[in-house]
């Protein structure tokens, strides 16, 4: 009998304590967590756009010329290194003739006397090249390394949707021979590797210009 009383009072006590320690909260008031896509769209991309003029960029023609002679020299003069890495990041500006257009990108020749087109302006952007080269966001800014990566991916998608694809679709079916395109873009290469052409160029700004050289 005594045991029953003790047990029941324990149960009642437990139930009471739980009740006291419990809150009912409507689902709607639960805060939403960090949204990388929204952050990239509303904060990072506009910031990058406004800073395009201030970015430390090199002239595409000049870089390509030095690549032919001694890539190492170009890496030292123009490229950026992030962390411990064999990759070298370039921001280049320049213009070139459009050689061809396909659904994924535009093949461009910068130097009239080169053997083949040097750049492929691509709409398929992957990896952290944009954020590494421009430094628009840094890993230290985010508590979670994963968030950094997700914002970077979102930026890739924005570049694809807002910079690359619109121009590509406008050139579809048109006669592109002789058209000149002005670009501001990024690429990365491995330090010790021989340069492989065409270099995949991630566009930050594209503009068709009339007339030739």
């Amino acid at each position: 009998m005594r045991k029953r009383i003790i047990l029941t009072s324990l149960v009642v006590l437990a139930a009471f304590l739980i009740y006291r320690s419990c809150k009912v909260v409507p689902l709607s008031s639960i805060k939403a967590s960090f949204d990388p896509k929204a952050y990239a769209q509303t904060v990072v991309w506009p910031k990058l756009q406004s800073q395009l003029a201030d970015l430390k960029k090199a002239d595409a023609y000049e870089v390509l010329e030095i690549f032919d002679i001694n890539p190492e020299e170009a890496h030292e003069k123009f490229a950026k290194t992030v962390g411990v890495s064999n990759y070298r990041y370039y921001i280049v500006e320049g213009s070139g003739q459009i050689v061809s257009v396909d659904e994924d990108g535009i093949l461009v020749q910068v130097r009239p006397d080169s053997e083949r087109p040097e750049f492929y302006i691509t709409s398929r952007v992957f990896g952290n090249t944009i954020v590494m080269a421009t430094g628009i966001i840094k890993m230290e800014d985010f508590d979670r390394i994963m968030d950094f990566n997700l914002v970077s991916t979102a930026l890739n998608q924005i570049v694809r949707d807002e910079v690359a694809l619109p121009l590509i679709s406008s050139l579809k079916g048109a006669n592109v021979q002789g058209m000149v395109i002005k670009f501001l873009g990024l690429f990365n290469v491995l330090k010790d590797d021989p340069i492989k052409y065409p270099i995949n160029l991630i566009p930050l700004r594209l503009e068709l210009s009339q007339g030739g050289y």
Binding site: S21, C22, V24, L27
Partner: protein, 346 residues
């Protein structure tokens, strides 16, 4: 060193000449054997204190005690179960599951989407529910063993696997972290200069020891373990006794789960993995017999401390992690052999 000490004892035993001498020797040995584990603990202590000048610092000693608190909770529950001739392999999984339950309730609450609300819990509520979960799993173990007569090894092996699976379902394989300072206090706090887990384990030890020694239930536990048929014939409800021991084991595993989760500030999906082995080792080194009926809480305390000192000392003296495993295994075997030899002379 351990083996040498044991050999010494064996040496003494073989030198028995006359029956009078033999009786005298046997008496000496029995009193030594009762303090067998204590001597081993003391020996290890001396060895490590000599080999490392950091061993006997207050910080390190509290570390040993704090780290042993978790195993002590498990080992005490295990002692109750082993005393009745059973075994509980599921304590590691219960530890993990109750920790995960507390963590999820604390951090995310219970989503009742049908009502459009979330039930949020404070530390008290989440902890109590976690303890209830432990108790309930223990009850499940007990029922499977007593009602369906499944051997304890098999039954708890089953629950161990199933509960580990529940943890995976509950956490979806991810750890649940950042649980708040109030909760973390359970694992990382200090009260009056003593770490919280040590207080918790201390209180549990005292209650468990008193319970075993001075209540009728305690006597039933020994009776059922010693000779179940005889106990039943004298009117002891063996099934109920065993059932309660499994519930105690589950409950204490949940306590351990709360301590671990609070200390790490995270509930890991693999929390508690293999912890049952250390708990069993602690109980057995402390003198509990796996066939039931023999063992004490005091012995289990010594056994837990031996393992705690070993874990700490081997790391402190810079023994390679690979050798640590080897050393620990051998010392456990040596300690038990010493126990056997000592007991064998009674």
């Amino acid at each position: 060193m351990r083996m040498l000490k044991n050999n010494q004892k064996v040496d003494n035993q073989t030198q028995m000449a006359s029956p009078a001498e033999a009786r005298k020797k046997a008496f000496d040995l029995r009193s030594i054997s009762r303090y067998q584990s204590l001597i081993i603990l003391g020996g290890l202590f001396v060895v490590f204190a000599t080999l490392s000048n950091r061993f006997v610092t207050p910080g390190n000693l509290w570390t040993i005690l704090r780290q042993s608190s978790v195993n002590l909770c498990l080992a005490i529950g295990m002692t109750y179960v082993i005393l009745t001739g059973g075994i509980d392999l599921s304590v590691g999984s219960i530890l993990g599951f109750s920790g995960a339950v507390a963590a999820k309730l604390l951090k995310y609450g219970l989503s009742l989407t049908a009502f459009g609300v979330v039930l949020q819990f404070g530390v008290m509520g989440a902890s109590i529910i976690a303890l209830i979960v432990g108790l309930a799993t223990g009850l499940l173990n007990g029922l499977i063993i007593t009602v369906f007569s499944v051997p304890p090894f098999v039954a708890t092996l089953g629950t161990m696997t199933a509960v580990r699976g529940f943890i995976m379902l509950w956490t979806k394989g991810y750890p649940i972290t950042k649980l708040g300072e109030t909760f973390d206090f359970i694992g990382s706090g200090w009260i009056l200069g003593v770490p919280t887990p040590v207080w918790i384990a201390g209180v549990i030890t005292v209650v468990a020891s008193v319970f075993l020694r001075f209540t009728r239930f305690g006597r039933y536990v020994y009776a059922v373990g010693g000779n179940e048929r005889a106990a039943v014939l004298s009117g002891v409800n063996a099934k109920r006794t065993k059932l309660i021991t499994y519930m105690i084991s589950g409950f204490l595993a949940a306590v351990a789960g709360l301590i671990v989760t609070a200390r790490l500030d995270s509930a890991q999906p693999n929390a508690g993995l293999m912890y049952e082995l250390d708990a069993i080792a602690a109980a057995v080194i402390g003198g509990a017999s796996l066939s039931g009926g023999k063992g004490t809480i005091e012995g289990t305390i010594i056994g837990t401390l031996i393992i705690g000192v070993l874990n700490n000392g081997l790391v402190l003296t810079g023994v390679s992690p690979f050798w640590q495993q080897v050393a620990k295994g051998f010392i456990i075997i040596a300690a038990v052999i010493a126990e056997r030899i000592g007991k064998g002379r009674e």
